[in-house]
């Protein structure tokens, strides 16, 4: 299975990022440090859209030098164990714990911009097994041949998207429509906010279209909506809220009873 994953990423990479077809790393090029010795702080910050951009570890930006150093030391120590045990789970657990801590609200982080005491709630009235289900994800998937072309670029690569994250965070988003009978290998993905290697190997990790079709076939949901929706959720929330009324009309046109939402 491991090799299956590698083959899939390597073979599909070319369609997303041609110049890196044989390499698992698809972020911006890693540049050697130039000039004076690099500080640890600079090293730590470089993982967040810097010279060592790595979207799995961009949270290094919001943790202290001390915590980052401790994490890296722990990770290497666990790797030493893994030589003998063959068990990489402790490494994965450590990375997960650091990620959760890195994104946790803290006294030094800016306060949340959107906080609500209450909100709309629509009760479910019919059995899910009879319902028409829609899906909306922020995974950045789109249909081959229907590229949303951010900033008017006909074939923006993943590397370029990462490099232009600031523009994504200040531009109106485009919502992609994906027919629910789309063969999985016709899905494409691009997103300036998360590492898409997993989603390239298997779109279902962030856009579970095959799983939904199986649930439909098994009668666990009534019907799948004709059109599913996705957009890269790293966006300007002011622009997003202006687009929402139009998006809601498109969602309602699907005649759905319930909706699955998958943020990434």
């Amino acid at each position: 299975m491991r090799n299956g994953y590698k083959d899939r990423v390597d073979s599909k990479q070319s369609t997303v990022d041609g110049q890196r077809a044989k390499r698992p790393y698809i972020g911006p090029p890693i540049m050697p440090a130039m000039g004076s010795p690099e500080s640890f702080e600079s090293f730590r910050l470089s993982f967040s859209y810097g010279s060592r951009s790595d979207l799995n570890f961009k949270f290094f930006k919001s943790i202290s030098d001390k915590d980052a150093a401790r994490f890296l030391q722990d990770l290497l120590h666990l790797l030493g164990d893994a030589y003998d045990t063959g068990d990489v789970l402790p490494l994965i657990d450590a990375a997960y714990a650091a990620q959760v801590a890195g994104y946790a609200p803290s006294a030094t982080a800016p306060p949340a911009k959107f906080v609500y005491e209450d909100g709309p709630f629509t009760p479910v009235t019919a059995p899910i097994a009879e319902a028409t289900l829609g899906m909306f994800t922020t995974s950045g998937h789109f249909l081959e041949g229907d590229d949303p072309e951010p900033f008017g670029e006909p074939a923006l690569t993943q590397s370029e998207a990462e490099a232009r994250v600031g523009e994504f965070l200040s531009s109106p988003p485009t919502l992609s429509e994906i027919p629910s009978d789309t063969p999985t290998d016709r899905l494409r993905v691009r997103h300036a906010g998360y590492d898409i290697r997993s989603a390239i190997a298997d779109p279902n990790v962030t856009f579970p279209i095959d799983r939904l079709r199986e649930f439909e076939a098994d009668g666990r949901i009534g019907e799948l909506a004709p059109i599913l929706f996705s957009f890269p959720g790293a966006t300007a929330h002011g622009h997003l809220r202006k687009e929402l009324p139009g998006w809601i009309e498109r969602i309602k046109d699907q005649g759905i009873d319930v909706m699955l939402l998958v943020p990434v």
């Binding site: 299975m1 491991r2 299956g4 994953y5 899939r8 979207l55 799995n56 990489v88 994965i92 657990d93 997960y96 990620q99 994104y103 946790a104 949340a112 911009k113 959107f114 609500y116 005491e117 209450d118 909100g119 709309p120 709630f121 009760p123 479910v124 899910i128 909306f136 922020t138 995974s139 965070l169 998360y194 590492d195 898409i196 997993s198 989603a199 190997a201 298997d202 279902n204 990790v205 962030t206 579970p208 799983r211 199986e214 649930f215 959720g233 790293a234 929330h237 997003l240 929402l244 809601i248 969602i251 309602k252 759905i256 319930v258 909706m259 699955l260 939402l261 998958v262 943020p263 990434v264």
Partner: protein, 91 residues
């Protein structure tokens, strides 16, 4: 950012009369409370692996089934249910 985006979408879709369930990645799950997202299933998965590891169809189906259970059973706004199992790497 994505989880905040979906918070806005969840609120607007519910407002339009369509019930929603949101699969929240643990690192961003605090957004569910902040934004009063109607129904959330929180998965203890790393970012970018909302449903599970690549090619782990079994785990992906378990997460989907759990999300539909939340949709089916939640009676109060702001319901948050944690998906029990920890992340498991591809195998």
């Amino acid at each position: 950012m994505c989880h905040v985006s979906v918070g806005h979408v969840a609120r607007a879709v519910e407002e339009a009369g369509i019930p929603t369930v949101t699969i929240m990645t643990r690192a961003f799950a605090h957004r569910a409370t902040e934004m009063m997202i109607p129904r959330s299933l929180v998965v203890k998965h790393p970012m970018g692996h909302s449903m599970g590891a690549a090619l782990d169809a079994e785990r992906q189906s378990e997460v989907l089934a759990a999300a539909l259970d939340v949709l089916d059973s939640a009676t109060a706004n702001g319901t948050i249910v944690e998906f029990g199992p920890a992340f498991r790497p591809g195998h």
